[in-house]
């Protein structure tokens, strides 16, 4: 069961006074994403402080190249759009279309992760080489963890939007909307991360 408060609805429907309330699962998710965003804000603040006050030691290598992360930025932005397409299709109950878009979104997420790993293996510095190298890996790694979780969730809802027996429909949009919001959030974080880590 993905509905956190299903028991609540059961309780409501059975009590003698038949009460209903609006669906506030999305509200809870937004609150959670604000909290999650604060974790990133802490990391960004630490990185910017390091940049401002801690000089790079002599002989330490910390150089980043732009092509792969730029490609990654484009991949994630496109994946946000394709996810939106999936939501639109599900709203019209075109389940197979929705599923195709979801698989495509997950595919873009996987490509992103592969590119990220490729970048990791070709960078001239490792995790413990110097302060900035550590911060770089911590930040991108933490974001990559979010992308990994997001991709897995997209695959799950893609499975759930299958035509025979899938739970998702225009009447049950919440799982898709929740993952979509999360995915847009992860994309937004990446854009900030891209600006701070690579462009500044």
């Amino acid at each position: 069961m993905t509905t956190l408060d299903s028991s609540k609805e059961i309780q409501k429907n059975n009590s003698e006074v038949n009460e209903t309330h609006e669906d506030f699962r999305m509200f809870g998710l937004i609150t959670f994403l604000i909290a999650d965003g604060m974790t990133f804000a802490g990391f960004f603040a630490a990185y910017l402080t390091y940049k401002a006050v801690n000089p790079l030691p002599d002989g330490a290598i910390y150089e980043l190249e732009l092509p792969i992360p730029t490609l990654n930025t484009i991949l994630l932005l496109v994946s946000s759009a394709t996810f939106h397409k999936a939501g639109k299709a599900l709203l019209k109950d075109k389940k197979s279309d929705s599923q195709k878009w979801l698989f495509f979104t997950a595919f873009l997420g996987i490509i992103f992760l592969i590119c990220q790993l490729f970048e990791y293996f070709h960078l001239p510095f490792g995790l413990t080489d110097n302060l900035f190298a550590s911060t770089f890996y911590a930040l991108t790694g933490f974001h990559g963890l979010h992308v990994t979780l997001g991709t897995l969730m997209i695959l799950i809802i893609a499975w759930q939007s299958r035509i025979n027996g899938g739970r998702l429909s225009s009447k049950n949009m919440f799982p898709l909307e929740a993952v979509e919001l999360y995915w847009h959030f992860v994309d937004g974080i990446w854009v900030i991360l891209f600006i701070i880590l690579y462009l500044l």
Binding site: Q11, K12, F24, A35, M38
Partner: protein, 541 residues
């Protein structure tokens, strides 16, 4: 739809144990979860209190003769962490919040009952893990602040267990916070306006905002710290080019709001208790609401007053001194409102009222030393001395813990339908109040005269005052005995309380005691004036 869900409900119910066993189950009932938080927190309070006693025994003599120095450091680390993360935060937020908030908003449960149960059940395992870390070779000994480089250079295994445990507790706290915000904003009964909510709802809303905004930063920081310990990175390790001050900034960005996370709910609870036992409306409801929100906003921008001796630049010292001094304004407003609530009231002297008055006295004392500590010249003099220890114990023990006891006396009849014994309650209060002040008031003097905190040995000239303090600690330990006797006796054969023994007007008293599973028989009452005391009296005239 109702019919199709029906079988699930019966299925669900048969799985839920009945009676006292439900307190050991993954119950979704907010009342059960509230009691789970309270009892679990109290057990950890007993452990933390035992550790505190060990500290005071050690400090009764100037040499480290009761335990070795490193054990002393482990004990003080465990004491601080347990008291903050396993006693005060879960109890004053989780226990009373879960029990009361659904009543106050006129709901049958919290917004996300399952998330609520998950949040509670994260606590016992992480607490046990924390306590177990003491038995690992090299338990955490860097204090509850875990400042690097100390936390990096001390033995690793205990520190890592400490970090994991605090991360889990932080997660529990965030889940709780999300739940409270959703419940208060979204689950209010139709017709109930925000400005009609009992004050504890506002306090919990403010607290939960702080939890959601600041706890994740601590989580991120501790993850980086664990990388420093396990993976040999250098975020906070100066030897590898890292920066320890960054850790302090990130840590206090959580841990200063954490003070408000511990004390704001107590503000809310005392605002519930005083009007009932003084038979007067809460004075200045609107100013109370705005001062809570003011404390939330200011509380997020004062963290560096913990770091005046960390090479903080002058402009930062100036800013954080002024911001901190400003917090005294909303806090002072609340203090005067409580006094004005009592003014001219028909005060019943009972245990709940006594503990609340004790809170007001202790808290104003802790508040005054807090304003003093915010001033840079003074802070530099007493930083890391017993003055700071005395200050924050006046806030967290003299403030919050007094209110926890006051709330237990106030809401025990609600939860059990039985009254607590007043004589034992008043005895409990007297011993606690004398013990507490005897323990911590002399520590101001110790700090002003330069006795450093967190050190097992001290200059022999401080011995006499330390022994007075230890005597106070002994009284505090003894004070738990009448309380426990009272609880056990009253649960078994306390006087019948009836539904509303205090003639209170807040919604939780408008149902039977103990309340039914769904909180109300029929529709939830609409309480527009939770503090409308004295009205019936003036109308009679």
């Amino acid at each position: 739809m109702t019919i199709s869900i029906d079988p699930q409900k019966t299925n669900n119910e048969s799985l839920q144990p009945k009676g006292w066993l439900r307190y050991f189950s993954f119950s979704l009932d907010h009342k059960v979860i509230g009691i789970q938080y309270l009892v679990c927190g109290f057990l950890f309070y007993l452990i933390g209190g035992t550790l505190a006693s060990a500290i005071r025994i050690e400090l009764a003599s100037p040499m480290s003769d009761f335990m070795p120095r490193d054990v002393y450091n482990q004990v003080l680390t465990l004491h601080g962490t347990i008291m903050i993360f396993l006693w005060i935060v879960p109890v004053v937020n989780g226990a009373f919040g879960n029990y009361l908030i659904p009543f106050y908003v006129g709901a049958r449960d919290m917004a996300f009952p399952r998330l609520n149960a998950v949040a509670f059940w994260l606590i016992p395992p992480s607490g046990l893990m924390l306590v177990a870390s003491y038995f690992v070779e090299g338990a955490a000994q860097a204090g509850w602040t875990a400042y690097p480089p100390l936390s990096i250079t001390t033995p690793q295994s205990g520190q890592i267990i400490w970090i994991l445990s605090v991360l889990l507790l932080g997660g529990s706290s965030i889940f709780g916070g999300i739940n409270f915000i959703a419940t208060i904003i979204k689950l209010r009964r139709p017709g109930l306006k925000l400005m009609q909510l009992p004050m504890y709802c506002w306090a919990m809303l403010g607290t939960s905002l702080l939890v959601v905004l600041s706890t994740p930063v601590l989580a991120g920081t501790l993850i980086l710290l664990s990388f420093d310990i396990i993976a040999n990175t250098g975020f906070f390790n100066p030897v590898l080019g890292g920066n320890v001050v960054v850790y302090q900034h990130l840590f206090w960005f959580y841990s200063h709001p954490a003070v408000y996370i511990m004390v704001l709910p107590a503000f809310g609870l005392v605002s519930e208790i005083l009007p009932v036992h003084a038979r007067k409306p809460l004075f200045g409801y609107t100013t109370m609401v705005f001062s809570i929100m003011g404390i939330v906003v200011l509380g997020l921008v004062v963290w560096a007053h913990h770091m005046f001796t960390s090479g903080t630049p002058p402009w930062m010292r100036l800013f954080f001194t002024i911001a901190t001094a400003f917090i005294a304004v909303p806090t002072g407003i609340k203090f005067f409102n409580w006094v004005a609530t009592l003014w001219g009231g028909r005060i019943s002297i009972n245990s709940a009222m006594l503990f609340s008055c004790g809170f007001i006295i202790n808290f104003v004392f802790g508040g005054i030393t807090g304003v003093a500590l915010a001033q840079v010249p003074f802070d530099i003099h007493v930083h890391d001395t017993y003055f700071v220890v005395a200050h924050f114990h006046y806030i967290v023990y003299g403030g919050t813990v007094f209110i926890i006891f006051s709330s237990i006396y106030h809401w025990f009849p609600k939860v059990t339908g039985k009254m607590l014994n007043e004589k034992l309650g008043i005895l409990h209060f007297i011993v606690t109040f004398i013990g507490f002040n005897l323990c911590f008031a002399p520590q101001h003097w110790l700090g002003l005269n330069g006795m450093p905190r967190r050190v097992a040995e001290y200059d022999p000239q401080f011995q006499f005052v330390n022994q007075i303090s230890s005597l106070g600690a002994l009284l505090m330990a003894i004070s738990t005995i009448p309380f426990l006797i009272n609880i056990f006796l009253s649960v078994r054969n306390g006087k019948d309380a009836g539904d509303n023994p205090w003639n209170a007007l807040t919604p939780e008293w408008l149902t039977s005691s103990p309340p039914p599973v769904e909180n109300w028989e029929g529709e939830a009452p609409l309480v527009e004036e939770p503090y409308g005391y004295g009205k019936e009296f003036s109308e009679q005239k």
